[in-house]
Symmetry: C2
Subunit: 123 residues, 2 copies
């Protein structure tokens, strides 16, 4: 897989709700930053952050635009979620992924509006 | 200029504070969306939106990552501003640009945190 295909497969793993695959595609020292909210450094911190999220029944993330430059892949997406009880949440986001030489995700930074996030998830 | 070079030149025009060049690089029917804030449709609406912004003495926008896929160019940036009186503002942003067949910017969507924007510009 080239870097763009890696990111497409990563989004597909989220959409299958296959967290084992999601974690396996991240480097042990991955840095995942939700820019307005905070950063998780290392796969252990990523797992802890995920455990602290509201329960999610399903993901429906759509990639509107994607482009790669070497190992760096930039995306424009709408990330849809089905929350507990079937409520829908949707966040407009752009994210950048840095793919390491081993083909795993070394860094992931998502840019979105924290107010939109709170509105969608907090309701 | 290819689409990536067009976007690099556009950012350079902002950094020279050359608004004539900025406007000339946008299509007449450009759609500029500051995703959490709103959208300006058409060059007249863009000019009106710019006129409504706080006075800006200088721009210092840094491109951290850029990649193109056909006419679509995605960027990760930090947009620095010098406001009236010399105060500094800085917003972390990702933006996508769609370059038309005529080489001008047909669409521009910037994703950032509205709270960060208010904090930086509102103080």
């Amino acid at each position: 897989m080239n870097p763009q295909e890696t990111v497409e497969a990563f989004v597909a793993a989220w959409n299958r709700r296959d967290l084992d695959a999601v974690y396996a595609m991240m480097a042990d020292d991955v840095v995942w930053e939700n820019v307005p909210l905070g950063v998780a450094e290392g796969i252990g911190a990523v797992r802890a952050m995920m455990d602290g999220f509201p329960p999610i029944e399903a993901c429906d993330w759509t990639i509107h635009a994607i482009a790669a430059n070497g190992g760096t892949v930039l995306t424009e997406r709408t990330d849809g979620f089905t929350l507990a009880g079937g409520r829908q949440a949707k966040v407009r986001v752009m994210g950048v992924f840095e793919i390491g030489a081993d083909g795993r995700i070394a860094a992931w930074r998502d840019y979105f509006d924290s107010a939109e996030f709170q509105r969608e998830f907090g309701g």
